[in-house]
Amino acid sequence: MEILATALPALGEAWGLILQPIVLGYLALGVVMGLAVGVFPGLGGIAGLSLLLPFMFGMDPILGLALMIGMVAVVPTSDTFASVLMGIPGSSASQATVLDGFPMAKKGEAARALSAAFAASLFGGLVGATFLTLFILVARPLVLAFGLPEMLMMTILGLSMVAVLAGRFALKGLAAAGLGLMIGTIGIADAGGSLRMTTYDIPYLTDGLQLVIVGLGVFAVPEIISLLRQDRSIAQGASLGGGWLDGVRDWFANIFLSVRCSIIGVIVGVIPGLGGSVVDWIAYGHTVQTTKDKSNFGKGEVRGVIGPESSNNAKEGGGLVPTLLFGIPGSGSMAIFIGAVALLGTGDIEVGPGMLKDNLDITYSIVWLLALANVLGTVLCIAASGGIAKLTTIRFTYLAPFLFMLISFAAFQSGQNFEDLLALFAIGLIGIFLRRFDWSRPAFLIGFVLSNPVEKFTNQAFQIASFRFRKSFEEGIDYIFSPIVIVLIIITVVSVVLGLRQAKLIMAEGDVQAGTKRAPLIFLLVIMGYLTVALVNASLIPNYNMTDKIVPLVIGGLSMACCLVLLVQMIRRPEGDAIFADKEVAGEDADAPYGLWQTLAWFAALIAATALVGFILALLGFLIAFLRVRAGASWAKTLVLTACGIAFMCLMAGALNRDFPPGLLQSLVDLPWPLT
């Protein structure tokens, strides 16, 4: 009651602030800008917010907030376009959406998938805001109850979703997740600063690989290459079925799933340090486990879109709690947001513990501006989805060069190194082979995403636990096995047991035919080779830096064990056994008119040309050559499309103040932007 007495007047004041025409106008402006930035994969809210920052200085606080929140709120909504239509995970918020969204687009149901996703996003955002309005007042003790053991367990729960997504061979899924974890450890270790699988002579690798690059490499590159080889449109038969109303109806039929996933989103979002990286996977896992007929997952099950999308906008709301209450950003864009708030007005709004006491009205304005921005963004997105879905009926050969352009640019934005492009290509190759031999790509990605949290929380929790145990045994046990930890352990065990039982039914790559022994065996041996090198490399770290070597050694060892068992099985089983799944034996890839390597060569050529003459000049040559030679377009069409592509690229990069990858030429001669 006491809580309501403080909350209700503040809530009233907040709505008073929000419902001014000028505030709504700024919110709409932010939303439109956010949508424009969000459809661009890999840029996300950080780029957009940085663009707004110079205007924040001294701006009226509520207007500045409306503008910024409008921008941040819609990024997880609009990046759904890229994940559903092109199979490109735009940000960590839409990775799981790719699994079922893209197959739906391939079936010609893009509009339906999009509108179901948007309806779920909208609803998730609203549920999140409602929940937060009350929860934010009592959230502080709950957030503080989440210590390192709790966060570690939460990460392990996320990791346990591998069980659901492991595919037909649990061992292959485990090994794929292990490989992802190991690739995530590349770089300078956070704890002791040891170098893992890198040297100071390759500064690029010391920072580790970026999520954007791994996400694009594992999901986008293999799909683009595969579709390009088949030389067809994304939607089979270039026909569109399922309008946007169907999607909304689908969402409504699954409204309780949407509610549950929204709550999952808010709660996981509230926990600082986990960010959004696990939330969509947990939501996806939950969706699979609560669906009776599991046979359609991975092939275009609409529930697989509704679940993760309900959670990811709700997560944004939940992420406000650590941001506003503790001044600890839950994500990169929230970190900029905190910095920007300090510039607003007279600078007296300081994000942090004082927010609830001194600025409850502002806090509520932020929560509900976020919800309102979601509504606005979603309505715009649904309105556009029918038209944009038509992209999937275009012959893919005309889309592919522009997708190569987009993913290269997106990858480059993550580190602004030429090596970003090489890394994209290398991870893309891994992705192509994981896909071909039916090793779970989601498992690989989950492993990569959770590599750093697993290692960090294990080390830190271990250190503090041993400190507590030194004081007394009881204190140590109390610390490790708190009630929250026990609950999370139970959930994890249940989800692993159920997951393993169900995993065989979920074929994320479709039904892959088995072939001869040779190719799958070679791939396994290559993975084992990498694991061996990584294990040797980790074992060379001196023992006083145990924190840096223990996780790679254990994970690498376990993955190696999985691979060895697989090796024995592969040797003993006859050819044609499902363990030798190979997409090049039968099916779309095998029947494709173009080969893998000649298709991949186009992408390699773009990267090589960039190394020589820089991105824009390379793109010019690439687009013309591709459209003329591969697509067989007329000169007129080629030139118009090329001009459009380059103009679009320059417009976006110019507006966001971004650079392009430079090449050898640029190091010799000074050229004006955008050729720099």
């Binding site: 000028i22 110079p54 600063g193 500064p203 503790f326 900029i336 300081e350 994000v351 830190q460 250190q463």
Partner: protein, 362 residues
């Protein structure tokens, strides 16, 4: 109404700036130019906040009111951006670079990734900060201005890494004879404070703005006890109490009161050198090598104009606090202080890092 006030501010600012174009450097005019301020960190860090605060002010104060954009070039703990800046030569004065303690420390420690040389660059502006260490309520009760009562306690400290700014508190606590075990791998001091609030960490420190923004509330609520500040430098280079926290003793006072802690000798010199590099001259703005004097003067005049704005103290409270902002010669001095360390002090710290935390910098 609010929008018009925003517009008005811009217009007034532009008129004011146009009226006070520095006569000494009238030849340099940046009309229609875009100045890039490169920050070797990501968009989310303290340096980003710092540059974003100064960028619009600098734009108003420079002749011709150029657009000032902040560009981010993160990587390899800021050494990537600094190495890049080392390669830049003067073109038309539209490039400036912002370094921070995290760029200065690898340079001082001889990090193998460092390919830059501070003495090549031309400092134009520098700002500093302070830091406050605090204890949990239980152990804080045993703190009486000396660390003698704390020597038998094991402390846990959430740390970003021993070679960064946390080097200064870790070395200070070790000089006091305290047993502080760092838990490495957190990102940002805010995470350290959260760990302290959860009771997992039992000792913590924050830079001045972080302390005022979050930890001061903990102190007011009785769940934390402030221990000491790192102090501040007076004009003679002597460490005095931090002007932002005049009621708190400096580390120097606590050290003097504690048995076995010396405020002279190689350990003290090493601590002081790294303290100066990390706090009183934490963030510095540079022009690239080869910049002509009139361009340097123009920038210095602009930053002096920013500093002498009547509202500067008020608007900069969050960014700079009650610490001096240096321009021109002051910035040159600050840079010298921040990037010079005697070979003995360096060796002491390198050996200590190796012995205590197994950090090897080769």
């Amino acid at each position: 109404m609010t929008q018009t006030s925003f517009t008005r501010r811009v217009v007034v600012g532009m008129v004011a700036a146009a009226a006070m174009v520095a006569p000494a450097a009238a030849e340099v005019d940046f009309s229609g130019k875009t100045i890039e301020w490169v920050i070797p960190f990501s968009e989310t860090g303290g340096s980003a906040k710092w540059a974003n605060f100064f960028a619009p002010l600098l734009s108003e104060a420079l002749p011709g009111n150029p657009t000032v954009v902040v560009k981010f070039m993160p990587g390899a703990g800021s050494t990537k951006g600094a190495n890049w800046f080392q390669q830049q030569k003067h073109k038309d004065g539209t490039l400036i670079f912002g370094s921070s303690g995290s760029t200065q420390f690898p340079y001082l420690l001889g990090d193998p990734r460092v390919r830059y040389e501070y003495s090549d660059w031309i400092p134009i502006m520098a700002t500093g900060t302070g830091g406050v260490a605090y204890l949990n309520a239980e152990d804080g009760a045993r703190f009486d201005g000396s660390a003698d009562g704390l020597k038998d306690t094991d402390f846990i400290f959430g740390s970003q890494g021993a070679t960064g700014l946390d080097l200064v508190p870790l070395l200070a606590w070790q000089m006091l004879g305290m047993n502080v075990e760092p838990v490495f791998g957190i990102k940002g001091r805010g995470d350290g404070r959260l760990m302290f609030e959860r009771g997992e960490a039992t000792i913590d420190y924050q830079t001045s703005s972080g302390y005022l923004g979050g930890s001061a509330d903990l102190v007011a609520a009785g769940s934390a006890v402030p221990m000491m500040t790192w102090g501040a430098l007076d004009e003679n280079g002597v460490i005095v109490r931090d002007p932002t926290f005049p009621e708190l003793p400096s580390f120097k006072e606590v050290c003097e009161a504690t048995d076995g802690c010396e405020t002279s000798g190689v350990a003290w010199d090493a601590w002081k050198a790294f303290f100066i590099s990390g706090y009183p001259s934490q963030k510095i703005a540079f022009l690239p090598q080869g910049t002509p004097q009139e361009v340097v003067d123009t920038y210095v005049a602009a930053f002096e104009a920013v500093r002498s704005r009547p509202d500067f103290a008020e608007i900069s409270a969050n960014e700079v606090g009650k610490y001096p902002m240096f321009a021109g010669a002051g910035a040159t001095n600050a840079t010298k202080e921040a990037t010079t360390v005697s070979p003995e002090a360096r060796e002491y710290v390198v050996n200590w890092l190796k012995g205590a935390y197994g950090v090897s910098l080769e």
